[in-house]
């Protein structure tokens, strides 16, 4: 009897773990066809708050659709002073969009999918800076290079001013 109970309990635990993983798979993977349809139908929002961006970008289970939504949204920025609190917040907001873009592209398994998604971002992103990042990212990918690694190395190669 004790053995049966142990076996049943073990079965339940395994079942829960498998279920959790299955749920995670469901949220993180998508049918490429379905995503392509959604990609074409996606409409960029004129602006989006930093709070909302943070919520999605820091969520490990954010879907591709959510990441795309963040990436192509406009900037919630109306500040003139470059040294202001709002300007730095806007910079953070842009940085989170870059992370969203990077995550979005990394979820694509093949180069065609990556390029297609980048093309879409270039054409639809409300934030012109994100469009430019996506253009440079696309060029790197076409040349079989890692955009982020090359960017860091290139900036690292700039001399420090005397």
């Amino acid at each position: 009897m004790k053995k049966v109970t142990t076996f049943l309990l073990l079965g339940i635990v395994v079942g829960v773990i498998v279920g959790l993983f299955a749920k995670k798979e469901q949220t993180l993977t998508h049918s490429p066809k379905k995503f392509q349809k959604e990609l074409q139908a996606s409409v960029p929002r004129p602006n989006i708050s930093l709070k909302e961006i943070k919520k999605v970008v820091t969520n490990s289970e954010a879907t591709k659709e959510e990441l795309l939504d963040i990436t192509i949204a406009g900037q919630d920025y109306d500040e003139q002073d470059p040294h202001s609190f709002k300007a730095i917040q806007a910079q953070k907001q842009g940085a989170f969009k870059v992370i969203a873009l990077k995550r979005l592209i990394e979820t694509e398994k093949n180069i065609e999918g990556k390029l297609q998604t980048l093309n879409h971002v270039i054409m639809t992103a409300k934030d012109p800076t994100i469009q430019r990042v996506a253009q440079s990212y696309r060029e790197s990918l076409k040349n079989g290079r890692s955009f982020f690694r090359d960017f860091k190395q290139a900036v690292g190669n700039l001399p420090i001013p005397n």
């Binding site: 943070k54 970008v57 820091t58 969520n59 490990s60 289970e61 900037q75 920025y77 500040e79 003139q80 002073d81 470059p82 040294h83 202001s84 609190f85 709002k86 300007a87 730095i88 806007a90 910079q91 953070k92 842009g94 940085a95 989170f96 969009k97 870059v98 992370i99 990077k102 995550r103 990394e106 934030d127 012109p128 800076t129 430019r132 990042v133 440079s136 060029e139 790197s140 040349n143 079989g144 290079r145 955009f147 982020f148 090359d150 960017f151 860091k152 190395q153 290139a154 900036v155 690292g156 190669n157 700039l158 001399p159 420090i160 001013p161």
Partner: protein
């Protein structure tokens, strides 16, 4: 999975690093440059938030980050570039301390302002507004670097592109002008490549650097990949050939040596085997303390054992061929060497590396026998020492007989023959066609070639 962990912990890590105490050594060095911190120094080994005023603790934390962006001992990729452990090579701390003298903590500032300096009569004083203290350490450090650049007379201009198009004084003209935003981007990249902050923070500062670079310059930065070949000859002379019409003389080494490129470094094996192998930065002059596992293994050998080394490559999975034993670093996590005897597969005396794709970034390595037979090898995984081998291929035997080194750069393949001539190699199916390259310098007596890839922003 790692990516998600990084994302989740972005904010947590900021909080953790912001609350860690500052070792006495760091605070003392900060106080050496900024006497305002002297009053906090005592007999303690470390200083926590409770030991200092809250705002001054935060300033000290960002200074600590800036200071440590320049490791005294660069933490090079100890596994010869097969593991990536980038460093910040630039001396940001001296740049900063040569300009900043003191800090002024303001209780109020003009609406929304975070920090400011008075460039011409400011006496090196950085004014920090209440908002400054609401940001995390990396943003504070980047802001301070940005501000000190204004002491050099750099001001901003109106944005003509990007998300802030039309805003006056919110952009710089171009990144190569080295203005305040260029310094901010460089500092952020320095942090993203530093071992001083967590992976999560690195992801954030990397993204900040990218967004700022593409938002804050009226001339949008472009990435260009410059590829070239470094040629060393029997006289110790080194030339950098741009793969076209230009070959720049780089330097003459004291001792002729084979030069290998690995990650951002050069590993140099003198022809005189009494001399140790060593590593330099890309300039071939600045010595790096750690020579890497391959060179250290070689250096540990006696002279008679060193003579048994037949070939070394830092491309692809890398590899050293010694007395028909293949030595390589497959276990990148543990940094352990694999050592496989090849007697049951044949007798090999060279290693060649052929690009897997047109970018020339990834190489497939082959062992080559005296007769020109090829045997491919790969690491089974990055966490074990197991090596997988392909089938012996005899089809290219006659074409490879006199080749001593072969590798790809970009979409082209180059080789050295036994006469020390640089030749161009074209592999089509099972046939190799080859032609001697018409270099702008004399094409003879080369002992090594190394592909150089240098991303540049302009």
């Amino acid at each position: 999975m790692k990516r998600y962990i990084v994302v989740i912990t972005i904010f947590l890590s900021c909080l953790v690093s912001a609350n860690e105490c500052i070792p006495k050594k760091d605070l003392s060095e900060i106080a050496n440059h900024f006497s305002q911190f002297n009053k906090y120094l005592s007999n303690k080994d470390s200083y926590c938030e409770k030991d200092m005023d809250e705002q001054w603790f935060k300033i000290a934390k960002s200074l600590q980050l800036l200071k440590n962006l320049t490791p005294n001992e660069p933490q090079v990729d100890q596994q010869d570039g097969f593991t990536y452990k980038a460093i910040s090579e630039n001396n940001w701390w001296s740049y900063f301390t040569n300009r900043a003298r003191k800090f002024s903590v303001k209780s109020r500032c003009q609406t929304g302002v975070v920090a400011y300096v008075r460039p011409f009569f400011g006496g090196g004083k950085i004014h920090l507004c209440p908002f400054f203290f609401d940001f995390n350490t990396s943003s504070q450090a980047s802001t301070m670097m940005h501000e000190v650049r204004h002491f050099d007379g750099h001001s901003h201009t109106r944005c003509t592109q990007g998300n802030e198009k039309g805003n006056s004084g919110a952009c710089d003209s171009k990144i190569t002008n080295k203005g305040s935003y260029a310094i901010s981007v460089q500092t952020l990249v320095g942090m993203a490549r530093s071992s001083e902050i967590s992976e999560a923070e690195k992801a954030m500062v990397e993204a900040e650097a990218v967004y700022m670079a593409f938002n804050k310059f009226n001339q949008v930065p472009e990435l260009k990949i410059n590829t070239s070949l470094l040629l060393s000859n029997g006289n110790g002379e080194v030339y950098n050939w741009d793969l076209e019409q230009k070959a720049d003389y780089v330097l003459t080494m004291n001792n002729p040596a084979k030069v290998y490129a690995s990650a951002n470094y050069m590993t140099i094996y003198p022809e005189d085997r009494n001399l140790d192998a060593y590593r330099t930065s890309g300039d071939l002059v600045t010595r790096i303390e750690k020579a890497g596992l391959f060179a250290e293994t070689y250096n540990d050998e006696t002279l008679s054992e060193r003579d048994k080394y037949q070939a070394i490559t830092y491309l692809g999975n890398g590899g050293m061929l010694k007395d028909n034993n293949l030595i390589l670093i497959c276990d990148r996590m543990g940094g352990k060497l694999s050592n496989v005897n090849l007697d049951d597969k044949g007798q090999f005396n060279r290693i060649i590396s052929i690009a897997k794709n047109s970018s020339g970034r990834e190489h497939q390595n082959f062992l080559v026998s005296e007769a020109g037979e090829l045997l491919s090898y790969n690491c089974a995984s990055i966490s074990s020492t197991k090596v997988n081998f392909g089938q012996v291929n005899k089809s290219l035997s006659s074409d490879l007989a006199d080749i001593t080194q072969l590798l790809s750069s970009g979409d082209k393949t180059y080789a050295l023959n036994e006469s020390g001539e640089l030749i161009s190699v074209d592999t089509k199916g099972n046939k190799i066609s080859r032609s001697i390259i018409n270099l702008p310098i004399e094409n003879r007596d080369w002992i090594s070639i190394a592909p150089i890839t240098k991303p540049e922003v302009f």
